[in-house]
């Protein structure tokens, strides 16, 4: 089982990607660790570490970076929402 990762708005544009599917690497237990893993790929992925007030949702619920992540989850990273 893998995790589905989604990116939105300015972050999606910076990464040049709206989504990817990833086999959850060993040792990654939280969404914060998942973010660090992706950011460590270097440019442009470091945007995940530098985006101000980065938000995370797991299975479409907003969560904190210390939230556990497990195979089968849908994890979304995005900047603060700006409404309608």
């Amino acid at each position: 089982m893998s995790v589905k990762i989604l990116f939105f708005a300015g972050l999606r544009e910076a990464l040049g990607s709206g989504s990817e599917t990833l086999d959850l690497p060993a040792g990654i237990a939280t969404v914060g660790e998942l973010r660090d893993f992706l950011a460590a790929r270097g440019e442009p992925w470091s945007a995940l570490a530098t985006t101000k007030n980065l938000r995370v949702a797991v299975n479409q619920q907003m969560v904190g970076l210390d939230t556990p992540v497990k195979a089968g989850d849908e994890v979304a990273f995005f900047p603060p929402v700006t409404g309608g």
């Binding site: 479409q60 995005f78 900047p79 929402v81 700006t82 409404g83 309608g84």
Partner: protein, 158 residues
């Protein structure tokens, strides 16, 4: 309760009418239409900074769920007889309608409060992102503190 996220425009009059159609207990329908303004971006003064278009992005599934949660919260706080929320996504031009909220109740106080409550939350909590296009290019809008403050005033009491 009915929530839609769609590219298509909406007919405010038809939506307002539908909330009271065929019933005689609705005394009040408060509603709101939000539109794209051609304002200059914050801090900008040149004509080239005027907004020429806006693109709204959403998180399909989560956004609808967030809007439904907001409506459920409103229904818990006030005596409501019907709620309709429509939010458009995609590329919109100045003067275009973006968002519609209408709330039916027996009494106007509940209808007004719930309508404004839903709008305030919608502007801060629902997963939408706005990109503005000016002659200087496109840029993603930053979250506004005034909107956070507007939503925050609901947290203490009715």
């Amino acid at each position: 309760m009915s929530v839609s996220v769609q590219e298509a425009d909406f007919d405010a009059g038809a939506e307002i009418g539908a909330l009271s159609a065929g019933r005689d207990d609705v005394g009040a329908v408060a509603s709101f239409v939000g539109l794209v303004r051609a304002d200059k971006a914050d801090g900008e003064t040149s004509a080239a900074a005027a907004v020429k278009a806006m693109t709204l992005e959403h998180y399909q599934g989560m956004t609808e769920k967030a809007l439904e949660e907001i409506v459920v919260q409103a229904q818990a706080r006030w005596e409501l007889l019907g709620v309709r929320v429509i939010h458009r996504v995609g590329r919109l031009l100045p003067g275009d309608r973006i968002v519609f909220v209408a709330v039916a109740s027996s009494h106007r106080g509940d209808a007004f409060a719930a309508c404004e409550f839903i709008m305030d939350y919608l502007k801060t909590r629902a997963p939408f992102w706005k990109k503005e296009e000016t002659l200087q290019g496109g840029r993603w809008v930053d979250a506004r503190e005034s909107d956070d403050a507007a939503a925050g005033r609901w947290s203490d009491s009715k």
